[in-house]
């Protein structure tokens, strides 16, 4: 293999007619493609000199077969020159800055120097149209210049004043070309053109290159008919018109007809280059579909760059809907049988595995049920021939297998696969899982791995890829398995952990003190891998009882010692520690939960204090086992009591409703009182604010406070027996604010942080008086979601809700673009062995990775060493 070479420079230029003719292997003159026998016409668009696409034929230029011949260019001699659409801007500029008679730039050398600078001290600027005043006199030959009009897509005209009237005089491409030819080389450099590679007259085509047939192959339809490529269709049009043009020209047709044909030829050449030019109807296929011509092949998402070069489709991948299965390990992925039967892993036959592989081949391509051993779809002989396994030939093929053959075995339990969900925003978006073949048609995953993928089950689809080589499988298991990706490099904490019901369940299990009989305790622990039960916590009437905290402790590692506040902690001024009435002081001593409630802070995704400590102390593998045990225990726990939420969970008693009404009435009165003060001119403005702003702030404050009060009233009534409160306190889902809005009062709706003021003249809705400033006239909703909104409130709620939706839409698109640019800038950087961050060219970006050379997943939330954690686990008490 040749060694990599450094690119010295890249030159961009135009193809000259001479170059086009030199690279052409054949002049194309006929618009026909194939004759009646299906053989290409000589000098037709499918000429054998341009390369071959039909198997069996040989290229007349290079004598190679269809698969080997790269194809060769031909050319069409155009009857008259036409403009290349891609260069209309350049042509317009050149026409406007150069003289119509002598071709020189319409500026004196001093004026040019002013813009471009001298040869030694260049400003970096180039001459532009703006530097030349319109209709001036040429400083070189003294000729009066005319205004050049340009009409999209390709029409240029001069404005001549005849008898006091402005008359547009059309410029033909031939006129333009002759003007371009007159521009001297020296005058092109200040315009930013290198005359050695791009003479301006080359932007006007006199000869058109015909691309090789290999880039516009015709396809043969099922009925045996040939269907030509869009480019071929377009070239046919061009040749036809060109031909007619030539004939008319030779026959001396009237000027009018010549002009029409010229314009038609221009249209066809234009749409051949770009079929989406402004001011030009797109050329269409017979079916009415616009043709996909040269520029359309490159542009856009499915174009050559974004569609074929930056991203491609891959084999050995599959995609389907995902659904949850809490009985799987987080390490596993449930794969439907249909997928497992289709996807294969090649296994080389050796003397050690020949019997096993023969049996697999004998099993054939159909797997009767998920527990049956896997089969194979193909076997590959040493000469690379593939033999398809089918019902009839299983035994014959299996008997032929010898060492050196390869068997393409189906997926089976335990195989390593890559699992991915778009958008792949961080490295945890692709992780390696172990296959578990299952019934059904969806991929199954443990809900605890949803956070890294940002997946839910409302119809999300995910992709699976099967690594094909031993190296790929080794890399997948060692580097990107779920187990290795529990810690996120974003914040150095666990990103995999309990969600939703896991948190509710473990909270319900561990909160306060409860006692379970042996039967109950074993019901809870049935799916967790525990080795032995601890001694019963108490014995009453001869019956053994285990506490809820004992049950949870069975899944903890033995040497775990830690102290922290649960997420239900209210941050009291003096912590009552073990005596906390909320049971929020978590203390684990030698692997036994002594006090406190396990909730989001302990085992949740993104927080997971216990998970984090187990990783540091016992390693990734133990932590994964813990997550598996924990999810299973919590699901058993939530099923033990049952958990549901309904409309009557938002009900309050009569006293509470009375209190809420009282609070809201007082708030409304308070607001009115303040408005009165303002209207009397007695309101003292706050520093830096106007009187109106002060009033608005006061009103917002009063109303906000009243809403919080209703929340407190509701909260007092609804205890932990209420599912919504339990979810909010444990951190599983929702907040007390959500509950306030459901049961108490929705509160002020706002647009851009202010009360709603827009709408009609001096009022938000015609229901109110003009200039009214009261709470309900500006979007305060005093009802709850349960109680229901009145019509004006409903409307204000829709206004506030819309703002939220717009905000999210704007945010996601903006942050997506930002992310894309960041990724593009950083994509090939790597940490070299000396700790520096370098580009592929060896250029240094950072002299020490992250300035401290530390992997964020191995540091303790930003600190290199978790001193507190280590001291805690040695002293076995809080520090």
């Amino acid at each position: 293999m040749p060694s990599p070479k450094r690119i010295g420079q890249i030159e961009f230029g135009l193809l000259s007619p001479k170059e086009i003719r030199e690279m052409s292997v054949r002049k194309i003159i006929w618009a026909d493609t194939y004759d009646d026998d299906g053989f290409p016409y000589p000098q037709g668009l499918m000429d054998l000199n341009l390369g071959v696409i039909d198997p069996g034929l040989r290229c007349k230029t290079c004598d190679q077969k269809a698969s080997e011949c790269p194809g060769h260019f031909g050319h069409i001699e155009l009857a008259k020159p036409v403009i290349h659409v891609g260069y209309t801007r350049l042509i317009r500029k050149l026409l406007r800055v150069t003289c119509r008679s002598c071709g020189r730039v319409l500026l004196s050398p001093e004026e040019i120097e002013k813009v471009v600078g001298t040869e030694d001290d260049q400003t970096g600027d180039l001459l532009s149209e703006k530097d030349v005043k319109k209709e001036r006199i040429c400083p070189h030959c003294g000729d009066q210049q005319l205004k050049i009009n340009f009409e999209k897509p390709t029409t240029f005209s001069e404005v001549v004043i005849e008898e006091g009237k402005k008359v547009e005089h059309k410029l033909t491409p031939a006129d333009i070309r002759s003007r371009m030819e007159k521009i001297p080389n020296e005058d092109l450099t200040p315009l930013g053109i290198n005359p050695d590679v791009a003479r301006p007259e080359w932007t006007i085509l006199t000869v058109l290159p015909v691309p090789p047939v290999t880039m516009r192959p015709s396809i043969i339809l099922e009925n045996g008919q040939r269907s030509e490529d869009d480019l071929t269709h377009k070239l046919v049009d061009i040749i036809r018109i060109n031909q007619r043009f030539k004939e008319n020209q030779d026959a001396g047709a009237p000027q009018l007809i010549i002009e029409d044909l010229w314009e038609l030829l221009q249209y066809h050449v234009t749409t051949y280059m770009d079929n989406e030019v402004a001011g030009c109807p797109p050329a269409r296929h017979r079916s009415g579909r616009p043709l996909k011509t040269l520029s359309q092949r490159l542009k856009g998402k499915d174009g050559r760059f974004r569609g074929s070069l930056s991203g491609k489709r891959v084999n050995f991948s599959s995609r389907t809907v995902i659904s949850p299965d809490p009985n799987l390990s987080v390490r596993q992925v449930g794969v439907p049988k249909a997928v497992a039967n289709e996807m294969t892993i090649p296994v080389r036959v050796t003397i050690h595995n020949i019997e096993e592989l023969k049996q697999i081949a004998r099993n054939g391509p159909v797997r009767p049920d998920v527990n049956a051993p896997c089969g194979a779809n193909y076997v590959i002989r040493p000469d690379a021939r593939r033999l398809r396994l089918a019902e009839g030939n299983l035994d014959t093929v299996a008997d032929m297998i010898e060492p050196g053959w390869t068997v393409e075995r189906q997926l089976r339990d335990g195989d390593v696969v890559l699992f991915n969900r778009q958008p792949s925003l961080h490295r945890m978006s692709i992780m390696a899982h172990r296959v578990k073949v299952m019934e059904g048609k969806t991929f199954r995953l443990n809900p605890a791995v949803c956070p890294p993928y940002n997946a839910d089950f409302d119809g999300d689809e995910m992709n699976m890829h099967v690594p094909q080589t031993e190296e790929a499988r080794a890399e997948a298991t060692i580097l990107i398995s779920v187990q290795e990706n529990i810690l996120s490099p974003r914040f150095g904490g666990p990103i995999i952990g309990g969600i939703h019901d896991h948190v509710s369940g473990i909270f319900m299990l561990t909160h306060d003190m409860r006692w379970f009989t042996k039967e109950e305790a074993l019901y809870l622990l049935r799916y967790s891998r525990i080795e032995r039960m601890p001694a019963p916590g108490k014995v009453e009437n001869g019956i053994d009882y285990w506490s809820n905290k004992q049950v949870f402790s069975t899944i903890l590692p033995v040497h775990l010692n830690m102290v922290f506040q649960a997420s239900s902690c209210q941050n009291c001024e003096t912590c009552k520690k073990e005596l906390c009435e909320r049971d929020a002081y978590v203390r684990i001593f030698d692997g036994i939960l002594e006090s406190g409630t396990i909730d989001k802070k302990a085992i949740g995704a993104f927080d997971g204090q216990i998970v984090n400590r187990i990783i540091r102390q016992e390693g990734m593998s133990r932590a994964t086992d813990f997550i598996d045990d924990m999810t299973k225990l919590s699901i058993r726990a939530i099923m033990f009591d049952g958990f549901s939420f309904g409309i009557d969970d938002e009900d309050l008693s009569k006293t509470e409703y009375g209190q809420i009404d009282e609070v809201l009435k007082n708030a409304a009165l308070d607001v009115d009182r303040r408005i009165k003060i303002y209207e009397d001119g007695q309101l003292e403005p706050m520093p830096g604010r106007t009187v109106e702003e002060t009033l608005e702030m006061q009103i917002m404050q009063v109303l906000g406070k009243s809403r919080d009060q209703t929340g407190q009233i509701a909260g007092q009534h609804l205890g932990l027996g209420n599912s919504a409160v339990l979810m909010a306190v444990s951190g599983a889902r929702g907040s007390m604010l959500n509950l306030t809005q459901m049961a108490g009062c929705i509160g002020q709706q706002s647009v851009r942080g202010e009360r709603i003021v827009r709408g009609y003249d001096d009022r938000t809705l015609p229901h109110f008086k003009k200039g009214e400033r009261g709470s309900d006239a500006h979007g305060f909703i005093q009802h709850s979601y349960k109680g229901g909104l009145n019509p004006t409130e409903f409307f204000f709620h829709a206004i506030g809700g819309r703002e939220g939706l717009v905000d999210t839409a704007v945010r996601t698109s903006q942050s997506g673009y930002l992310q894309r640019r960041l990724i593009n800038a950083l994509q090939d950087l790597k940490v070299a062995y000396d700790g520096t961050v370098r580009t592929t060219g060896g250029r240094i970006i950072q002299f020490e990775y992250g300035e401290d050379g530390t992997d964020p997943t191995r540091s303790a939330f930003g600190d290199p060493v978790d001193v507190k954690g280590i001291v805690e686990s040695i002293l076995k008490e809080a520090v």
Binding site: D125, T836, I844, F847, E851, D852
Partner: protein
Amino acid sequence: MSTKLNVLKHDMVPDHEIMSDEEVSELFTTYNITNEHLPKIFHDDPAVKMIGAEADNVIRIIRTSHTAGRAESYRLVVKRPKK
């Protein structure tokens, strides 16, 4: 009122210093690089102007880092290209 602003005295501006030829060659050997592999800084950067560095000088920038305490970085002074 023409007291010149010394950007180096600003709290947010890290220390910049010009490196001697020996230091530069030592730097190049430790990282096994040539000057084209260094990060660059324009000659008209206010801090570069302040310490009087010229094109082709290598400057050392010493930052206080939240995680590492003190972090050194090196940059090659280059002329700002014309547009």
